[in-house]
Subunit: 177 residues, 2 copies
């Protein structure tokens, strides 16, 4: 029974979805930013280029379709189905910030993770959820109602030292399977 | 500061939005079901008409636009702005069941409750949230992480006796303001 399983919540952008790679593709296409951009630790991607270029991230994410063809994060397609067997697995994405993202994100999940039912998907503002585990790249989402927060490594969070960290989906599998 | 306020979560359909009235309008338009349909206590609206008519509810809710012009529940426009001053107010709707509802529900909130920021809106499957208060018409959403569940009266839930009940937005105001 699902109710007996421990609850595992998983964020989308920079965790399940390689939104960083999608941004780089667009910055490269439009402004010639190199695809192997060296990002300063602890900064957002758009802070690593001239401001007038970086500011385009807001335009990109608000365009319908942006989130529809984001690459799946490496390793997720192998590990997430196994996690889904063991845990009561939820997808929890702060999609509410970009209203054109709702349908794209939903269709993306249907395509890549069709075994996750609608009952286990949440598009949120603040993540006021309760979960045994939450895998997220943003530490602000780790409230006291998350028993075991796992910080998924992303360039913007590499300087944070106070969280249990996972650097890849392989590492997630080692810890949780 | 918002963090000092108690958290109040509010459901949409049958609580903030009079989805029941919208259904009746369509059943009346298409099948002549009377607008003052007498509904058997403890039943869903679609159980109070021949099955081949009632089954159309699924068609209605999946049509883009269905949720866009649902009437606001009587009294909500007066009370919710006052609640928003006193509480850290969230809208939590199980929108995930109907993917064509996302944009309609978001736009509906923007129109009628523009003071609620995106950070305080959640479209969910199961409501795995933590809140001091949750006003909802579905008792299944009252987990142990809801300190004070308030069951908003709707024909389908009138037979339930084990919950603190609110029969109108005026009553919500009397209890919470």
């Amino acid at each position: 029974m699902n109710d007996k399983k421990r609850r595992l919540a998983i964020d989308m952008d920079e965790v399940l979805a390689d939104t960083h790679a999608k941004f780089l593709t667009l910055f490269n296409r439009d402004f010639g930013i190199p695809l192997d951009l060296k990002q300063k630790p602890g900064t957002e991607i758009f802070e690593n280029m001239p401001k007038e270029i970086g500011d385009h991230w807001k335009k990109y994410v608000n365009e319908p379709g942006f989130f529809r063809d984001v690459p799946v994060m490496r390793g997720a397609l192998n590990i997430v189905p196994e996690l889904n067997k063991k845990y009561d697995l939820f997808i929890v994405s702060a999609a509410m910030e970009f209203k054109n993202s709702f349908l794209d994100k939903y269709s993306w999940l249907e395509e890549h993770f069709p075994f996750i039912p609608w009952t286990n998907i949440l598009f949120t503002g603040r993540k006021i959820i309760v979960s045994d585990v939450l895998i997220d790249d943003r530490a602000k989402n780790f409230s006291e109602h998350i028993e075991r927060p796992l910080l998924f490594t992303s360039p913007h969070n590499v300087l944070l030292e106070e969280y249990e960290r996972v650097n890849s989906w392989e590492e997630v599998g080692e810890k949780l399977l």
